[in-house]
Symmetry: C2
Subunit: 181 residues, 2 copies
DNA sequence: GTTGCCATGTAAGGTGTTACATGATTTA
DNA sequence: TAAATCATGTAACACCTTACATGGCAAC
């Protein structure tokens, strides 16, 4: 349950309501959760039960009141413990590869079309990510080092997309070689 | 539900029982599902209901009888339709990046240790993948082109791990620059 | 007057995991 | 005698998603 720590992290940056957290998640690329209410609100309740956050009600004129959450010292400790812990091994799970695994039933044109459509999607993602980086890092920049970390996090996805494109190019080459042979 | 098509694909290669499919999944890297029974058996029942597979009972001496599944023509059609369909966009979801997002609370040594432990894990994965490729492609090789596809699928994960390692190296460099500055 | 924002939440479902239940047989 | 293999399946739980319920206020 990594979103729990994503929320603790955001609250360690600045106090926020469930609604504000949801908005942040929905706009964030680095913290890639959708920000749906069914995940955020129950998680906040759980964190409160565990004594990792505390909340106070913010009354705001015409708008409905909101519960603004804050990290407790225990919350800060829990976050720190998670951050130093052994990171999980990343797993590559690209459904496209499963599709490709059974693609020998396609003829050369159909296969080329499939690869073309996939390439366009990845290229789009790659360009969008580059644009996000151009606009500057999205997260907290309380220190120069933290700003660097968030910049590199954004850069990470970019590099993965580019590796994907290079692999595709290689696949095209190999298929071409086979065809002319 | 991509595992559904992974199963259809395997059955298009050769008939198999639920048990054999599970064994294949648990050993396969390309078809990355764990192969747990709770996923395989109900999926087979569903495919049977949908008329995409048919089954016959194989009696085998001392061992318990097994249901051997086979693709129907409708199953072959469904598989083909899925294979030509627009591939989903790959999403990069590395929990380590979330951890790194809040890692500015660590001092330089703690951060270096975290990166080191992550690097070792990725390096291990990368080496294991290289070894798998050296042993030859795991999937069907009914045609030279199909063999090429499966080789490139194995190569894909390798390249992703290597991109990850290059990114890590870059992150280390940037952190070093900042430190000496 | 319909759409959209503010703000809380619930319902239902898809997808995946580990662990268990059952029961015979083979291997160490 | 303890374990692993063969073979089916269920239970419980983790995580994530879209869609809905409620209700006032703002903007076009």
């Amino acid at each position: 349950m990594a979103i729990k720590y994503a929320i603790l992290g955001l609250l360690s940056w600045r106090p926020a309501s469930g609604y504000e957290l949801r908005k942040y998640f929905s706009e964030s690329v680095a913290l890639y959760w959708s920000g749906n209410s069914n995940q955020v609100y129950p998680t906040l309740v759980q964190l409160h039960k565990d004594g990792l956050v505390e909340s106070e009600v913010r009354q705001q004129g015409n708008y409905p009141p909101s519960k603004v959450y804050n990290l407790t010292p225990a919350g800060e400790t829990a976050l720190r413990e998670w951050v130093v812990a052994d990171p999980p091994v990343p797993q590559v799970r690209n459904p496209f590869l499963t599709q490709l695994a059974w693609a020998d039933r396609l003829n050369d044109e159909e296969l080329a079309s499939l690869l073309g459509r996939y390439e366009r999607e990845v290229q789009m993602k790659s360009l969008m990510q580059r644009e996000l980086i151009r606009r500057g890092p999205e997260g907290p920049a309380r220190t120069p080092r933290e700003q660097l970390l968030w910049t590199m996090i954004a850069d990470h996805d970019c590099r993965i997309y580019e590796a994907e494109l290079r692999w595709l190019e290689r696949l095209r080459e190999e298929l071409g070689k086979r065809r002319t042979a």
